[in-house]
Every structure is written in C-alpha cells, then in structure tokens.
Symmetry: C2
Subunit: 423 residues, 2 copies
C-alpha cells in the first residue's frame, strides 16, 4: 500500500507524518517540486525584517530526518506534471511515473502576479525570500510599493520599514486584512500613518517605475491546476472541494492545505483560508484518513492574527458587514479599555464584538493591542466555535491578577456594552 | 426607595454603581467600616513588592466621586453592628439606625489568624498593607515565614523575596494554590526552589520566634457574622447562600462578593471562590436585582491566575483529583511545548488538560509559563463553560502568526495527546 503526497511543506508533511503514525507499514512518498521542504513559510517576512537571521532557522526538519525518523521518502525537485487517477499514478516532469494507492494533494497556493519583472518580488516561498533578501542586500533599494494590504502585505510593510525603506501600500479594496470592516480599516490606516507607511486605499499602482522595488502581496489563489486537470471537483471558492474527511470527489484522493476548501463553522459554507494552522489541521486529517482511520476536520471560524508595525491585530468569525452579506442580523460594539492596571504598564486594547441578534450568539470579533491579543482572540474563537450566547459570554469567568489582566477584561466590557444595545 | 450596601470595596461598590445605572431615582447608601473604599485589594502584594509605589495607586474612586458622579452616598468608618430585617434597618456601632428597603451584604472575607501579634501580618486590606509596609521600612526584617501556600501566600513570597528577605512558606496541606494536584504542586515547588524560597509542604510552623516576621496567608473565611445573626441562611461552604439573582433567603436582601456563595458550573454545586472577578460579577447582579431588574449570575468555573516569582500559573475547572471526588471519571494529560518559535524567544509552556471520560467534555486545565498564560487559561475557561467536547477542542481554530504563537498551540498539542489516551 503506497501513499503519495504532492507537496512538502505544511499540509503535505502533516499528512505524511500523521499517516505514518497510524500505519507503520504504509509506504509513503512525498513529492516536492522545489528544493525546500518543511519550513515555516509564515516566518519568511521576519527573515526580511531581520528577526530571523538565516532561512535555516525556519527549517523544521530535513529530508534525512523524514527518512530516518519517520520512514517517509521525501523527494525534492520532483515536480508532478499530471495525475492519472484511473491508472493510480502521477507523472513527473522528468517523465517518471509514480504509482499510488492513496493520494494527498497539497499543492498550496500561488500568486498570479509574482515575478513579473526583476524588481517585483513575492514572499511566499523559500526561494522568494532568498531572492528578495539578496536584492535588498545588493541593490539597496530606498523605496518600495507593496501591492495588497492583506496579512503578507502589512507584514512586509513592517519588514521593509525595519530595513529603512520608504513604503507605500496600494490596496484596491476599501478595507484591509481581508475583513470588510470600516472600524478595523481605520485603526490600521491610522497606525500605519504613525509608522510612516503610506497606505493608499481604493488605489492601484499606476507607475511602477517610481519605486525601487515592488512586493506582490495580492492575488493569492489556490493552486488547483493538477487537481482540476484530473477531473477533481473545484468548489465555488476556487479551491479543491473536499468533504470533512478531506477526501475529494475521487475515491482515495485527498486534498489539504492552501489548495483546499474547508467549512466555515459560522456560515456553514465552504471557505478558503490559506493559513498555516488550517493547512496543518487539514493535512493531519487527510493523512489519517488516507491511512485508513476515520477523522474529521469540522472546519474553521476564520481566526487569524497579524503584527503590523508592532501592533497586534487578531480576528475571528464574521465582521458585521460579512455577517450582513450572509443574511444575518449582526449587532456590533467597539470598545477601548486598559488590558492591565496602569501600575503594570497596561496598554489600551480595542475590542470589536459581533453577535447575531436573531440567535443571540457571538459570531465574531477583533482584538487590537500591544499585549494579550492572541489570548483574547482565542477566547473569541472558542466562544464562536461553541456558538456561545452573549448572555453566557458576558459572564465568562476569566483569569484575573494584576500582572496579567484586569478584573473586568476588555472582552467582558465589550459584552456588557453589547448587551445594552440588544435589550 | 432606599438601597443600603454593607461594604465599600469590590462587590459592594459594583452593586451600588449598577443599581444607580438602572434606577436613577433610588437612594443609595454604602456603609464601609474602614476608612478606605474602592481600591484594588488584589494589588496589595505588589505594593509590598514595590511595583505599586504608593497605596493611592490602587485607589479607583473616592467618596467624592461616588457622591458627584453617581449620586451614591458612601460613608466610611461606618461599621454595621447588626441587621434588623423585620424593621428593615441596620444598626451601626455608634447606635445609629439606617433604614433600608433593599439590602446588599458585601462584608467580604476575613482571616481568623491575622494580627495575633506584633510581627504577624495579613495583606487583605489597605490597613494591612500600610502596617506591613511600615514594618518592612522601619524594622528591616531579614527573615519571614509565610503561613499558607495559596495565591496570597505565594504572591507574598515573591514580594518579600523582591525586598531581599529570606522566605519560608509553611503549607499544612500537601498541595498548593488550593488545587489538589501533584503535577502543579511539583512545578511550583521546583520553581520556588530555583527562586530560593523554602517551601515546606505538610508542615506547620513550630517556632515562630525563629523568624523576624510572619505572614498569615491561610484560614480565609467568609465574613458572615452579620448575616448569620440576622437569620440569613449560610451554605455548606460557610458562605452566605444566595440564588442566581444573588438574593438570600430574606426577601430583598442580597449577598455578593467574598462573603457569598455562587455555583460552580462544572460540578453544579455551591462554591466559594473569594476572588475579585467573582466579587465584581456578583455585585453587579445583586445591584441590578436590588434595583428591580432581573439579572442572573450563572456561576463560575474556578478560574484564577497567579504570578509566582515571575512564573505565570493559570487554572480553571477541576483538577483530576477534584473531579474524582465529584464522582467523575477524569482523564488528564500534561505536556510541555514552546509557545512561540525560538527565533521569537518562545519559552516553554506547560499545559494540563482534564476531560471527563464519560461525557467527553473538557472540565479543567492548568497553564504554566512566562508568556501567554492568561490567554490560554481563558480559552480553557471558555471551553469548560461551554461544555466543549474534547473532539471539538482539538480542532479549535486558534490564532497563529510567528510573533504571537505557534502553528500547533500548546493547548492543541495537549488535546491531541489526550485524545490518544481516550481512544
């Protein structure tokens, strides 16, 4: 019995490792088209920023580790050209055929725009980071335009500011961080201004020659060419459609990671969230099921966190505007509160809390601040996942001691305010 | 219509303020027996430690504020001697009678042991802190014995170490922090050893003359004398029994704060948790209902957090041993994991996760570490409150980005390990 995995980063290696745990006898081959496997792609902007000193710091394991410790055969520079499911084999670019019994597709995402010129850079892969790092070192650019104000765009704004560049961010939409939300957009816009990053909303770059370099941080798409050519169903999000066992419409063929859809637990509908956490979870489930177990990936609630010039921004669930688009009746409140006492240098934390008026359930929220952002975002994510009522959320028994928090946590203050609006 | 509140710190002033919000016409009188109101008692150990420079930093509002901004008449040095409910009045020590229509009892807790000598100190009130601060300054003690290894005892161990004292902690029980748990006790014992605090478990102080000073950090009891003499029902925990509206067995008489019981949401039984967060919540509900609204205090899950010589320790729900005592079938796992990548100076976080095998629900947990402890504890508290199944907990969509966390959060790693034990 042989499992073939296409893709050797987060989802692919999670799948392979999980399959090995559950079935010591399975033959497992991972095919990675680049020379690099098993690295923390989310850390690439911090290599550019300087916090990560060498790309090797981002590597988790190497090929030898997988062979020795997990009996997994990882092949680098092994590009799959096509999948022939009827013959149960994949065809490599070099003409080689690799048969499989089970297949996991973890082909990730790609940016249409990337590498359209010598001074345009992406920061999605190891090679992207190498190339950009070398350019910064050798060409010493002074100005950069970043195209796109999603996570990567804003992380790169911080990274390039840290390298001393003048940075302009062009965002075609009127919101940032993929969240239709005026409140959040304004906070980010004001913060970027303070950090002397020039954010241009509703604008596309007209004259690219005005900047020494460009960062392509828009237009990320699931990489589904192989799947689609093999008659694997693509969902409405543009990513591979899979059930909650991460199996595609082809029996024995699984999809995981940035190329695949999962379910949004608030809307109940398919969603595409190309994030490392989701990729790892999907990979784990795909690998388990490919190895004969029965595991489920229930879905996600759209949680993410990003640091933008020192400011933490965490979000989960739906924004009021997104909830309205889903036909819900959202009510939201935004508050500011100290997250610790002043004598413990407590800073202002801002919280947006969103409930669905009809159900009374907490359906989303945003936390912005310098400290405690991940924890509060995760409390919101847990409440959203468990469909907690605002009436229960407002009474949450949260941890308090002066070095850590306040007697009324900002989350609870937001909930109290929101209750007033509802009653 | 007049509301009288006995007690002018957390619960009492929460009750008074909430009642005022809901009923602008109510006459509200708060009777506080000491000269000090509205201060953060949880911050007192940090005054001794030095982080809080003057006690005034712990004061939230003063008497004039309550008069001016909230039309609440706060009387200090006004000790209630008895409650005469049939006549609807309280009798003060000076002989004065104060009539009421509604009454909130927020008499707090007290330590039987405190002030049994010139070198024995408590740290429960403003005056305690003044007296101890003056002693440290004037007598320059070199050695201290702390009696009790609960929150206050261990916070005071840190505070006195910071002041350069040699500290010995005597704990009659074989566990610390009021949590019957060997794993946690061992972590705390080892950490205290590293911080050169001498923890003596299963030991009581024999010869108090061997130490320059003693801290009474044991034997805290709900202060229920007034209530009990007025035929108000006392629960099995020793605290005032109240329903979920915080009303006692006497109609129109409410209890809130460290003198009152609430419900433990995991066991479903009355519980006494003398903590600031719980006191504030109870006070808010008591005040609302006293003002004619109908609000509920559903209960608590026993969440707390404490800093012990720089180490954060958060806990919620039941320990395995406490769950067994409740007739549950607990299964627990303890793990260690980095809470961030090494290149972001991630430190080891330890997590204990407890589920009830019969229901599959998450019923408790402990988080220990230097960073992110409050947030992870609060995720656990939220999961425990919502009776989340481990099967759902393990799939929680938690926030990840390298400056904040890891792709597999320590909470999820613990959940994965625990799932293996269950299946």
């Amino acid at each position: 019995m042989r499992l073939v995995v296409i893709g050797g980063v987060a989802a692919g290696l999670s799948a392979a490792s999980r399959a090995r745990k559950l079935d010591p006898a399975l033959e497992i081959i991972v095919l990675e088209k680049t020379p690099h496997i098993s690295y923390g792609a989310c850390g690439l902007p911090y290599f550019i920023e300087g916090q990560v000193k060498t790309l090797d710091q981002l590597r988790v394991y190497d090929v030898a580790f997988f062979a020795r410790e997990r009996n997994i055969h990882v092949r680098v520079n092994a590009e799959v050209r096509s999948i022939a499911h009827q013959r149960r084999e994949v065809l490599l670019s070099n003409g080689e055929r690799v048969p499989y019994d089970k297949l996991v597709i973890a082909t990730g995402a790609k940016r249409e725009a990337a590498r359209r010129g010598e001074t345009m850079f992406a920061i999605d892969t190891w090679s992207d980071a190498e190339r950009l790092g070398a350019f910064l070192r050798d060409a010493k650019p002074k100005t950069a335009a970043i195209l796109g104000a999603g996570y990567i765009g804003l992380e790169m704004a911080e990274a390039l500011r840290a390298q001393g560049l003048q940075v302009t961010v062009f965002q075609r939409a009127n919101y940032v961080l993929k969240r239709r939300d005026k409140w959040l957009t304004q906070i980010v816009a004001e913060h970027l201004k303070r950090c002397r990053v020039d954010l241009r909303l509703n604008e596309t770059l007209e004259d690219s020659t005005r900047y020494d370099m460009l960062i392509a941080a828009y237009g990320l798409k699931p990489n589904v060419r192989l799947a689609s050519e093999a008659a694997i169903e693509i969902g409405r999000t543009g990513a591979i459609r899979a059930n909650d066992r991460m199996e595609t419409n082809l029996h024995g063929v699984y999809a995981a990671g940035d190329c695949a859809e999962t379910t949004h637990l608030v809307t109940g509908r398919p969603a595409w969230f190309p994030l490392g956490t989701t990729a790892n979870k999907m990979g784990r489930v795909a690998g388990a099921n490919a190895a004969g177990a029965r595991e489920r990936m229930p879905g996600i609630v759209g949680t993410s966190i990003v640091r933008v010039c020192g400011l933490g921004i965490g979000m989960t669930g739906l924004s009021p505007e997104d909830a309205s688009k889903e036909g819900m009746d959202p009510v939201a409140v935004e508050i500011e509160a100290l997250e610790k006492a002043r004598y413990f240098r407590g800073r202002v934390t801002r919280v947006q809390l969103v409930v669905n008026r009809r159900s009374g359930q907490v359906i989303g929220g945003v936390v912005v601040g310098e400290d405690g952002v991940a924890g509060r975002t995760n409390v919101l994510a847990t409440a959203v996942t468990s469909r907690m009522l605002l009436d229960d959320f407002v009474n949450l028994d949260l941890a308090y001691s002066p070095p850590f928090s306040r007697s009324w946590d900002p989350l609870l203050i937001a909930a109290q305010q929101l209750l007033k609006l509802l009653h």
